[in-house]
């Protein structure tokens, strides 16, 4: 029998967690499991703590609560750079429910927002107070997240692209995000992340290092395109085979980096 426990603060909720419990955010992941009779948990833990839905802004530093929904991101002027990624999640009803924290836990091929956050070097602040990189969080995926700390990208340095067969709402063949920081006209300290190309959203270090010190044009990115799937073993699923994902990744990476329109 499933038990639901509701706590007034997220701290109390986090203390009630164990391996038989699941933390309910927007419900799009957990209720799905409940509906399909998942027996790996027997408790749902939730909180009515409104602080989880806050968006705080201090200059170009943002703190986005784990309970902020995709719809709330789309409605926030401060988070306009995340709009393309938030809009890539589900349809309007899902976006009214699905939360930032939940997106970090979404199984393949979901988690498009997390791809964008990974390229933005987001830091995960846990309820315990611990802070860790999103990359480290994705490697372990446990604990209750309080918020994400994000630095606002400058100008047009941030790019996001979701590749899907059905529009406007379709599941990812892959999603890609890049933060193309420059120094003296050359790329420097670039971040590139993919979704649906591994079991979780991943940073692509081979591409990042191939972009170091080059100019952002066809000639400059050649080596990065050759390294597009280096070290990756993209999964097979009903949306696309791993082979297909690997074959088309360089094309989508080129479009992402050069800002070309897909047809």
């Amino acid at each position: 029998m499933l038990e639901v426990q509701t706590y007034p603060t997220v701290g109390e909720a986090a203390s009630a967690m164990d391996d038989q419990a699941r933390f309910l955010g927007g419900g799009t992941l957990i209720m799905n499991r409940v509906n399909y009779g998942d027996r790996r948990f027997n408790r749902i833990v939730r909180t009515t703590d409104a602080s989880l839905s806050e968006i705080r802004v201090e200059g170009d530093r943002l703190e986005v609560g784990a309970g902020v929904t995709m719809a709330a991101i789309l409605a926030s002027r401060d988070l306009d750079f995340l709009s393309p990624a938030a809009r890539a999640v589900g349809g309007p009803a899902i976006r009214n429910m699905a939360s930032v924290g939940g997106n970090l836990m979404a199984p393949h091929p979901y988690g498009d927002l997390a791809v964008a956050l990974l390229a933005l070097d987001a830091v995960v602040r846990m309820v315990s107070g611990e802070e860790l990189s999103l990359e480290d969080f994705l490697a372990r995926r446990n604990g209750v997240v309080r918020s994400l700390l994000i630095r606002r990208p400058r100008g047009d340095e941030f790019r996001f692209r979701k590749v899907s067969r059905v529009k406007p709402k379709g599941v990812s063949v892959m999603s890609m995000a890049a933060r193309l920081t420059r120094s003296a006209g050359r790329l420097s300290g670039v971040r590139v992340a993919y979704g649906a190309m591994a079991s979780t959203p991943v940073r692509v270090r081979a591409v990042e290092s191939a972009l170091e010190g080059v100019s952002l044009d066809h000639a400059g990115i050649t080596a990065a395109l050759s390294a597009a799937t280096e070290g990756l073993d993209p999964p097979d699923d009903p949306i696309a085979s791993g082979w297909y994902r690997r074959e088309v990744a360089p094309v989508h990476l080129r479009r992402l980096l050069l800002g070309e329109d897909a047809r």
């Binding site: 029998m1 499933l2 038990e3 639901v4 509701t6 309910l24 419900g27 799009t28 209720m31 799905n32 409940v34 509906n35 399909y36 749902i44 939730r46 719809a71 589900g90 349809g91 309007p92 009803a93 899902i94 009214n96 429910m97 406007p168 709402k169």
Partner: protein, 157 residues
């Protein structure tokens, strides 16, 4: 274990006992007897169970029922005023926008949320608004036409 939940369903105060972990769709259909929202996939992919909570579309199969306590829930069951159909319902009938009809209640609620916020949407705004609702019969075109027609009729009224 059952717990009591009270909320407004189509404008009427409603109180039901819900099973622990029950989803809102189940409670609306079995607890409240409102059979208008449909169970399609149970995973938020099809949109047949779409209802409005606080005026915004939600897939009720993924809503933990007790989270709607104190809130306002609207379903297709509350769209018509007695024998007077909602402009969207009339436009769907006149435009043959319903074939098997299973997706229709979800389509109507997604469309209502759109028109309540944006009384004269463009075609692409309509496509976006119903992008979470699957229809396997119509090919969508008659549905999009009907929503645009309803917007026109509401504007003219």
């Amino acid at each position: 274990m059952k717990s009591p939940v009270t909320f407004r369903l189509n404008g009427s105060e409603t109180a039901v006992f819900v099973d622990s972990g029950a989803n809102l769709l189940d409670v609306l259909r079995r607890g409240c007897g409102d059979l208008s929202p449909k169970y399609g996939c149970g995973q938020g992919s099809c949109g047949a169970c779409t209802v409005l909570i606080g005026g915004e579309p939600h897939v009720s199969c993924l809503v933990l029922a007790e989270t709607v306590a104190g809130r306002s829930v609207e379903t297709t069951g509350g769209l018509s005023n007695g024998p007077d159909l909602h402009p969207l319902q009339r436009a769907f009938i006149e435009g043959f926008a319903a074939q098997c009809g299973y997706c229709t209640p979800g389509m109507l609620m997604s469309a209502k949320a759109l028109l309540d916020r944006n009384p004269s949407p463009t075609r692409s705004e309509v496509e976006e608004a119903i992008s979470g609702n699957l229809c396997r019969c119509t090919g969508y075109e008659p549905i999009i036409d009907a929503i645009l027609e309803a917007a026109k009729q509401r504007g003219a009224a």
